[in-house]
């Protein structure tokens, strides 16, 4: 049952789309019924004609023929509509779930790669309705039909036919599902390894060439590729075997009907024709089982990601938001996971409202963790973090984040216009405010030089801009945010020294009245800070005023 449960959970999510899905199933069943009836009628007509007792094509047959063609058309339309609706609902459900559960965990810490795989997993769920549910209902409907049409001529033949039908429609797909679920895992792993190997070779192309390692890198990629293909070949072989066995079963059933010796030849011909239609309808079921297996594996991952509990739960009854926005850490102890050593052990810090504070230190000293804690992306093991004197554990994360804005190392630029990328921080910002933020981040002139200016496109991952420019655009977005506290994590990476100095020397005017916590690995010497802290191994080891 394990393999079906994730799929059933996904189907359970489509409550709001129930009407559309039901409509799809009903039209599909009607089309199938019309098809089977048409075959039965055609068989009867042909048999009668062959025996010389036939009539003209009965009107009912003509009507069935037209109905079948029309119903097939509507079936395609209605089931596709239902699929689109279901997939959209799934995407939005996934997005909301991820936003709730994983903003701190997945979105901020894990690589975009994992997320990309999850998005592919969602796409893999689009066959559940169209290729599994709809034919499944069709198969259920056909059982009594076969039982009646064949059974009234020959009970033994009916037993054989139904047994073979059940094999093709249910048992083989079920087996295929289990096998595909297992190999989907192997395939996903091999695919991931191939991606890593390709990314390795391409992002390190400079060194690969300098060290003459092209051949070795290529071989490494091809080794992973072969693993992927191996998994695929196995799955293809299994699917082929399953398909062949199903085909044989269908043919055996047909032969069983053909060989019935009965007193009513016309009824036998009808049975043959109905059997042909019925087995044709379930012919693709074993393949659907393969799809179901992949979908099941994908659904497991999707459910796991979207339903993971948030790293930091909101309080049941949040306290009122404070008016002041001084930030303080009081005896904070924190570790990312139980198996890791603590990042902070009894850390205490004061960031008074309106102050300018720099936190310096080597990577791994816990500078970024400071920001993650202040934004409720993580929760201290012990101690309190206060905003305006109120413990943020008693505040909703969303409310805290309206007061504290963060330019992180992982800040994402969206495949959208410059304008929309900026508006994310403040949807009601005016044109002048946008330009002011861009100028403050020293990217205004670059944007001004673009033909579309604010409406210029930031390509996928912001590739239209160079790394440094993209970073400055993200900085502009953070500066635009109305939050009174800004945490800037390496805002100047990608800037050359002169521009960095310029930015730092004007920081005070640009951000007058706001609290600034600047995280950096070094300073240029021109900054005017109220305090400069050095962090090492999770402790403030020096503070200068």
């Amino acid at each position: 049952m394990n393999r079906a449960r994730p799929i059933l959970r996904i189907i359970g999510l489509w409550r709001a789309q129930r009407a559309a899905l039901a409509a799809g199933v009903i039209v599909a069943l009607a089309a199938l019924a019309a098809g089977v009836a048409l075959m039965a009628g055609a068989g009867r007509y042909i048999a009668a004609a062959t025996l010389g007792i036939g009539l003209a094509v009965p009107a009912a047959l003509e009507a069935l023929g037209v109905a079948r063609v029309a119903l097939r058309y509507f079936e395609r339309l209605v089931t596709h509509d239902a699929t689109f609706r279901a997939l959209t609902a799934l995407r939005i459900w996934f997005f909301r779930g991820l936003a709730r559960s994983a903003a701190g965990g997945l979105g901020y810490r894990r690589a975009g790669d994992v997320l990309a795989r999850l998005v592919n997993d969602i796409e893999a769920l689009d066959g559940i309705f169209l290729r599994i549910l709809v034919p499944g209902f069709g198969a259920l409907m056909l059982i009594p039909v076969l039982l009646f049409v064949v059974g009234r001529e020959d009970a033994a033949a009916a037993a054989i036919v139904l047994a073979l039908f059940a094999l093709i429609a249910f048992l083989f797909p079920w087996r295929a599902m289990g096998a595909a679920r297992r190999s989907a895992e192997a395939e996903a792993q091999a695919g991931g390894a191939l991606r890593v190997a390709a990314l390795d070779a391409l992002s390190g192309l400079r060194e690969v060439k300098v060290y003459g390692a092209e051949g070795r890198m290529l071989a490494a990629i091809q080794a992973q590729e072969s693993r992927l293909f191996g998994a695929e070949r196995m799955l293809a072989a299994r699917a082929g075997a399953m398909q062949a066995v199903s085909f044989l079963a269908a043919q055996a059933a047909l032969l069983a009907v053909l060989l019935i010796h009965g007193a009513r030849p016309v009824a036998i011909v009808i049975a043959v024709f109905v059997a042909i239609a019925a087995f044709e309808a379930v012919g693709a079921m074993p393949r659907a089982g393969v799809i179901a297996g992949r979908a099941s594996a994908a659904a497991t991952r999707v459910l796991e990601a979207a339903e993971a509990p948030p790293r930091v739960a909101d309080p049941a009854s949040p306290a009122a938001m404070p008016v002041a926005h001084g930030l303080s850490f009081d005896e904070v102890t924190f570790r990312w996971s139980a198996t890791l050593p603590p990042v902070f052990d009894g850390l205490s810090l004061q960031v008074p409202a309106g102050s300018r504070i720099a936190v310096l230190g080597p990577s791994g000293a816990g500078k970024s963790t400071l920001a993650a804690l202040a934004l409720k992306l993580a929760e201290p093991e012990a101690g309190e973090i206060r905003l305006g004197g109120v413990d943020i554990a008693r505040l909703n994360a969303a409310d805290v984040r309206t007061r504290v804005a963060w330019l992180s190392q992982a800040t994402h630029l969206f495949a959208d216009t410059v304008r929309n990328n900026l508006l994310l921080a403040r949807p009601d910002a005016s044109e002048a405010e946008l330009w002011a933020a861009l100028d403050a981040a020293r990217i205004g002139d670059v944007v001004r030089a673009l033909p579309d200016r604010l409406d210029a496109w930031v390509g996928e991952q912001g590739v239209l801009f160079s790394g440094g420019q993209g970073r400055r655009l993200a900085l502009a977005r953070t500066l635009l945010s109305p939050a009174p506290v800004l945490i800037l994590d390496e805002p100047c990476s990608g800037l050359d020294i002169e521009t960095e100095r310029e930015f730092m020397s004007t920081l005070n005017e640009t951000l007058a009245g706001r609290t600034v916590l600047l995280i950096a690995h070094r300073l240029t010497g021109v900054e005017k800070f109220d305090r400069i802290w050095r962090m090492q191994n999770g402790r403030v080891i020096a503070a200068t005023r």
Binding site: R96, V196, A198, L202, E232, Q251
Partner: protein, 586 residues
């Protein structure tokens, strides 16, 4: 490449943030190069798919035989004793078993074709990218390139494995069925043939307008997926900005709008399949009517032919249906091909350099003579008639603001870019006449962020010289002070790093890069801001190792002023050279 990027044909005009739909002016573009590329692929693919197509046609032949047996069996059911039932049943069974065997072989063959095509395309693409080198790939996101190499090429498997064999079978299979029908009864054969000819005609009629629209819709769907992926990747940013709910609603709105538009197009597009249904029904009725007369007149003799012809009708349309079922594979391939052919290609040099030669690797003297270079005409020259001479074993610091050409000089020396004017010589030999492998052998480079691939620390160090002895490796590890941190790790040098491995700090990564250079023992050392990403304390340590590495080598160092003070040697201030419009060495 650079130029085409700034003109922006690649710029995806995606769905706007607030759910507005922009039609892409770029959509009509590049259909023809993609088309011709696909056509070329198909031409080659057909040859390779000949066995698969042949097997499919053999299957059609067996199906005809099976239907023959079935029709005779049916006739026997209607008039017992009219045919040898046992013999026919055995014939039916044998044909069925053979067809089942064919299914297995065909499935395997389809997988083989898809795999072979992907292997071929991936190795050609990767080979091309590696030949091009980083110079021509500037500005390309490596993740974007990797997506092309992995995902786009994966998407091309269906074209070769499924679409090409199916298209071949759809072309010939129905003809074979019609011929079989014609042998039994020429009128039935003719009816099938006419129905078959009407398929492409009706498809063309309903397909006018929908083909283009369907393609556009397919692109729009793919863009929605891209947009969704983009928003999911940036979900942390969205949540922190408090915009998750607004974004979820915007996504829903866009998807809904797209669904409505898609359905409008599908309404017409599905007519294609409906026409096929109608033609099949019409063929059935026509054949039934054709036999109604003789049968009602009591001509029992025509009954087997009638049953045979009627049962052939579904078989006649089966290859056509199978073909339209794989239409998606072709569409997917076309969109994938679009990205693939947009990759910059290695220029095929009209004539190989006149005299390729190697130069002694002992001591490297570098001379620039009036070298000018521009990445593209729009952005102006980076280097303007630059001349300098750097004798073997000496160090030169390149200083100047970013964009003044520090990195460009290194790129030129690595052979990743070529000057538009002037001459660069290495030990007296013009750089373009030196075998690339020989140039690579005499050069070591350390940049801002060293590239570490997924593997162990040792494997990463051995990138420089895989065949180095254990003693040489130990020595490099000692000199670069990799041992300082590696010894503390449980697995030592065998500790895996890179993706999913042990997280190295910036300083530790830089030490591995230095060890790599020590092991390689190249006489020309290029350093590009090697400590820019390090904190001051770590910078100090790394600097010591670098100074040790520099001894006895020709060194070119691009760095900010403060760092350059640590080295003794010449200094080339590119900012000054530029503003003064001078050439020469400061």
């Amino acid at each position: 490449m650079k130029k085409s990027r700034s003109r922006g044909p690649r710029r995806p005009v995606l769905l706007g943030f607030m759910g507005k739909l922009y039609m892409s002016p770029a959509m009509a573009r590049s259909v023809s190069p993609t088309k011709s590329w696909i056509r070329q692929e198909i031409r080659g693919g057909r040859r390779r798919a000949a066995p698969a197509t042949g097997l499919g046609l053999l299957g059609v032949l067996l199906a005809i035989g099976q239907i023959y047996c079935a029709s005779r069996l049916l006739a026997a059911a209607l008039r017992p004793g009219s045919a040898p039932v046992e013999l026919l049943a055995i014939g039916f069974a044998i044909a069925a078993v053979l067809r089942a065997g064919l299914i297995v072989v065909q499935e395997r063959e389809a997988a083989r074709l898809g795999i072979a095509a992907r292997r071929r395309l991936r190795s050609a693409t990767l080979g091309g990218l590696m030949t091009l080198g980083p110079g021509l790939l500037r500005g390309r996101h490596s993740a974007e390139l990797a997506a092309v190499v992995v995902d786009r090429i994966e998407a091309l498997g269906g074209l070769h494995g499924r679409w090409i064999p199916a298209s071949g079978i759809a072309l010939v299979g129905p003809l074979m069925v019609a011929a079989a029908a014609a042998i039994a009864d020429w009128r039935s054969g003719l009816i099938l043939l006419i129905a078959g000819l009407l398929v492409p005609v009706s498809m063309a009629v309903t397909g006018i307008g929908t083909g283009m629209a369907a393609r556009r819709q397919f692109t729009a769907m793919r863009r929605l997926q891209t947009r969704f992926l983009d928003r999911v990747r940036g979900i942390g940013t969205i949540v922190l900005a408090g915009r998750a709910e607004a974004e979820a609603e915007a996504l829903g709105g866009t998807a809904d709008e797209l669904r409505r538009r898609t359905l409008r197009i599908l309404r017409v597009a599905f007519l294609n399949a409906t026409v096929m249904d109608l033609l099949a029904a019409a063929a059935l009725v026509a054949i039934a009517i054709r036999f109604a007369g003789p049968l009602l007149a009591g001509h029992w003799a025509s009954a087997p032919a009638a049953l045979f012809s009627l049962l052939l009708v579904p078989e006649f349309f089966a290859p056509l249906r199978a073909f339209s079922a794989v239409y998606q594979d072709r569409m997917t391939a076309e969109t994938a091909a679009e990205d693939l052919i947009e990759l910059p290609r290695a220029e095929v040099h009209a004539a190989p350099p006149p005299a390729i030669r190697t130069v002694p690797a002992q001591g490297v003297t570098i001379v620039f003579e009036g070298v000018s270079f521009a990445w593209d005409t729009l952005r102006g020259t980076v280097l303007d008639r630059l001349s300098f001479r750097l004798p073997a074993g000496e160090t030169m610091m390149l200083v100047g603001p970013s964009g003044s050409g520090k990195s460009t000089i290194l790129e030129l020396l690595l052979g990743f870019a070529h000057p538009q004017a002037g001459r660069i010589t290495v030990n007296g030999a013009p750089i373009e006449t030196i075998v690339p492998a020989a140039l690579a052998r005499m050069t070591a480079m350390i940049g801002q962020r060293p590239f570490l691939f997924a593997g162990s620390i040792e494997e990463n160090i051995r990138l420089g010289r895989p065949e180095a002895s254990e003693a040489e490796l130990r020595e490099a590890v000692r000199l670069a002070r990799v041992a300082d941190f590696a010894d503390a790790l449980p697995l030592g040098l065998a500790t895996p790093i890179g993706d999913g491995g042990y997280g190295l700090s910036g300083g530790q990564a830089q030490r591995i890069a230095i060890a790599r250079a020590f092991l390689k023992d190249a006489k020309l050392l290029l350093l590009d801001e090697p400590t820019a990403q390090l904190d001051p304390a770590t910078e100090r340590d790394v600097l010591d190792s670098l100074k040790r590495l520099a001894i006895g080598r020709t060194v070119i160092l691009a760095s900010h002023a403060a760092f350059a003070h640590e080295f003794t040697g010449r200094k080339l201030d590119l900012g000054a050279v530029r503003t003064a419009g001078l050439e020469g060495v400061a």
